[in-house]
Symmetry: C2
Subunit: 221 residues, 2 copies
Amino acid sequence: MTDIIATVDVILLTLKEGCLRVALLKRDREPYANVLALPGGYIHPDGDADTEAAAERVLREKTGIVSPYLEQLATFSGRGRDPRGWSLSICYYALVPPELIESVGRPDLSLHPVDTLRGLPFDHARIIAAAVDRVKNKSSYSSLPVYLCGDAFTLPQLQAVYEILLGEPINKVSFRRKIEEFDILEPIQGVLATGGAHRPAQLYRLKKQYRKCLSVSDRGL
Amino acid sequence: MTDIIATVDVILLTLKEGCLRVALLKRDREPYANVLALPGGYIHPDGDADTEAAAERVLREKTGIVSPYLEQLATFSGRGRDPRGWSLSICYYALVPPELIESVGRPDLSLHPVDTLRGLPFDHARIIAAAVDRVKNKSSYSSLPVYLCGDAFTLPQLQAVYEILLGEPINKVSFRRKIEEFDILEPIQGVLATGGAHRPAQLYRLKKQYRKCLSVSDRGL
């Protein structure tokens, strides 16, 4: 029990320019110094209440970001994944709007399309692939994609986010019915989105009780 | 990193007398000596390739059981769950036919309905509840329940297993269509099940490639 390296890693995903992207950070120490990697770090049993608290702390310390939603993905482990020795990493993923990542102003934190990642250290490529799979799958029956939107958004904007994640167009009527079933949104009174060639559209925001918790459907979209 | 207790626990589930049950083992040492608990143990970095291998080894050593299917459930962690100190347990669940558990002949291993568990040590009640949730949820869109059946079974027997897990009757026609879509079964040539007031029914078994791997559907049953 003393020879195991116990860490947490965070897969921070966002949608920018129509493409799902992961936030990577230049490592500041060996192994793999200066290589882009997932934000991660050791668990601190003295301070962290549990691994989720460790992931929140690591994300906050290394990127300045506090994500409203953070979910355990899985634990990756073994002898070969870290040159320092037998290790396990409890991995958490988060979805955030790109503005949140940009607002912290960390030049060493950058966004990379999940489909064209190269040269990642450890087993981070496998971890990111697992997170992307989970997000795509969970998006088909839950309100998860809403966390990629900012504080205020229109229904067409939200539908476009779902369509990118699911990789296919969605019928507008059934999409609206599903969003109604989730019962997660409230209109922002007196505010309309303007812009483009379209009519002003109603802006929505997440109901308070869903800012940290998903709504899940029995059936897919 | 040296102060963390790293263990694996296995939630071994089976179906007996119409009821989902978990296999519990009397603990042979402190803490909680002689109390019924999940089979679990320390990770051995010297011998275990990863946490899944650790779970397989612990299950084999403590119960004599080798489960064809073992899936990572989640990692449970924190300061309060184990009186020995800050701990994390990577938990794996398995579904097996009751005959497999009975065949190993371990009197200290017993089956308990998941709905009426009491007095479990550590956070094992929470871990088992999470495993049961996962199994019920995953049963609604995958071939997972088949692992609860023995080597040979009829379609009505398999349907009854799904109905117990899903907690509701399933239409026979749509059930058969879904099983066909999964494409996991092959008829056992020349063998029919007899017994009861029914006509002899065709016996099926899992195709070889699905004995360790699920078939998953885009849509629920």
